[in-house]
Amino acid sequence: MGLSLDDLPAVGEPFRLLAPDGSVVGPTAVLAEVLGRGPELLAGMIAARVANRRLFSLQRQGRTGTFAPIEGEEASVVGAVAAFEPATDWIVPYYRELLGLGRYGSEVLYRYALYQRGHPGGGYLPEGVRVLFPQISLAAQLPHAVGLAWGRRLRKAPGVVLAFCGDGASSEGDFAESLNLAGVRRAPVVFWLKNNGWAISTPLAAQTAAPSFAARGPAYGMPGVRVDGNDALAVAAVAAAARAHAAAGRGPVLVEAVTYRMGPHTTADDPLRYVPAQERAHWAAADPIERLRVLLVAAGRWDDTQQGEAEAAADRAVDEAWTRAEATPVSPDAFFDHVYAEPTLRQRRQREELRRHLTARAAQ
């Protein structure tokens, strides 16, 4: 039953169920197991893409800061998260996944809106929503992920941690140290490396000479597997197998999801400076949403009404999140609030000084 990690490649062609044109190329038994999740995955990916496009215009309107688009990588996020349990499992993102975490509830988008606006409330999710804050320092979230998994084990709480990172982040010392520690402690972590071809302008060949990132799994005492990150069903199947491995106490797993960053690195980046046009065209033809849509429509599991509803719902979700975020007040001296549980005497004095200053400024 199900997919075994042992059957999946650590180097070479990533595992896939569907070809870019939506035709079935992988084991039909595996496909049968995940097909039922298809509409949910497709809706999740549409939500991510719609939101992503909306953010570009919000950014032009000055309603959100510079952001890191998810376009092209929807399957590698939505499909992975689909295998995890909000009731027990932590999601540890970096900065490019936030629009793909709808499975963890609408609060994620609202908090991401706060984050994008530079509001301090964007730094957490409320109790019960197991999504850690966006991480800017590359790979720095991975030690935290190991700690979360280890901490749950310590208090005998079930659950697996899904920790994202990029191909670039794999070169940081924190990546290696985290995998190694997770291996030693058999911490239930699924390290999910989205290989999207680029780290800003740095291509894979300048990032590593290794034939795959998944090859690092065995080097640190865990399975390492490659999956086609633009094949949402394959992603979901591999994620489920990885989660099951970790949940069974067999230790961590490294998954390399091979995908592609279709947009700029961030809205401040100009990929025309460095991305070869034919590379982009190649990947445009491997779009994760289109691939799944074709299959589901052919299978009678998706139609235009559903498509329209999914798009409209995604639009509404962005409106709601942004409206709510824009209405969330913040006091200009709020940065003193949570540095320590109790402010130091110095901080209290500084805060008074700032208040006097702000009052004077307002009076001007």
């Binding site: 030690p143 208090r155 609030d337």
Partner: protein, 328 residues
């Protein structure tokens, strides 16, 4: 009260806190069977088992960084960095992550994390074992930086650190582990952060120090009295962050003179902060320029040269004489 060395006081405190609170976990290099390279964790693994006293892989960043996740999941991590010089390997996790967990999460997550590290010179170690880096961490909001000078304070401050809802960098003077011996209260003993200790009251000049330099200053103060009739007040800061400026300022307001002593290099050391604060608070009380007695602006030296680097009572005494305008 029992007379203990500093390392005994630390070990007892770790034991008591682990016994008291099942959430406390000790992690670090060689903290298990070996009991730490200075034996500060000796016996803990035997008492509490390998799940709570954990020998970690040789990787400071993930030793410190994993505490973030542990703390979020309800543990109270007490990590050891084998020597403070190797905290640089974990700087991004300690200063960029641990220190701002509460802040980044807008108060959602506390970071009840203690990072213990030996530091300071005087015992002819190899490189990077003796560096006094406290001011680099004092410049990082979100961290408490604690540096006890007595065994009693080591116990009382470490207990406060472990129970603190905020991250604490707990600095242990390596030459003091066995040399520092004093009466330590039995049972529960908590020393609050941000309250300096007057080690020796005096009227003529205020001498401020922390960690192993406190004893050097006490000796220098005694000599100032015996040899020059100068009555120096010696203040042990105990905690660098929070910095008890009030106690120092009150003393300087009385004495009108101040000497600040540190092992770190002079430039941008914490002594500069003490001086800058004192002149802000006590400008009109000061009768002579504040004096810094410090390590020099050089990397911590090799063994044969160490004696010329670490401030000794001669140099502190010279500083006291300068502050009191006595020409030696």
């Amino acid at each position: 009260m029992t007379v203990l060395t500093m390392v005994e006081a630390i070990r007892n405190c770790l034991h008591d806190e682990m016994a008291r609170d099942g959430r406390v976990v000790v992690l670090g290099q060689d903290v298990g069977a070996n009991g730490g390279v200075f034996r500060a964790t000796d016996g803990l693994q035997a008492a509490f088992g390998p799940e709570r006293v954990v020998d970690m892989p040789l990787a400071e960043a993930v030793i410190v960084g994993s505490c973030v996740g542990l703390a979020i999941e309800g543990a109270v991590p007490v990590a050891e960095v084998q020597f403070l010089g190797f905290a640089w390997q974990a700087m991004h996790q300690l200063c960029g992550q641990v220190a701002r967990l509460r802040y980044r999460s807008d108060g959602r997550f506390g970071a009840p994390i203690t990072i213990r590290a030996p530091f300071g010179g005087g015992v002819r170690t190899p490189e990077l074992h003796s560096e006094a880096l406290e001011s680099q961490f004092a410049n990082v909001p979100g961290l408490h930086v604690v540096a006890p000078a007595s065994a009693a304070d080591a116990k009382g401050l470490l207990a406060t650190a472990i129970r603190s809802p905020d991250p604490v960098l707990f600095l242990e003077p390596l030459r003091g582990y066995r040399l520092i011996r004093d009466e330590v209260p039995d049972g529960e003993h908590l020393v609050p952060f941000g309250v300096a200790r007057v080690v020796r009251p005096g009227r003529d000049v205020t001498v401020v120090a922390w960690s192993a330099q406190v004893e050097v200053c006490r000796r220098a103060a005694q000599r100032a009295y015996d040899e020059h009739g100068i009555d120096a007040e010696v203040i042990d800061l105990r905690t660098i962050v929070p910095f008890d400026a009030a106690t120092v300022a009150a003393s300087v307001a009385r004495t009108g003179r101040v000497v600040v002593v540190q092992e770190a290099p002079l430039t941008a050391g914490f002594a500069s902060e003490v001086v800058a604060t004192v002149v802000e608070e006590c400008f009109y009380d000061l009768e002579t320029p504040p004096v810094r007695v410090s390590g020099w602006d050089v990397p911590y030296p090799v063994g044969l040269l160490e004696d010329g680097y670490v401030p000794d009572d001669d140099r502190v005494l010279a500083g006291i004489l300068r502050a009191t305008e006595v020409t030696a």
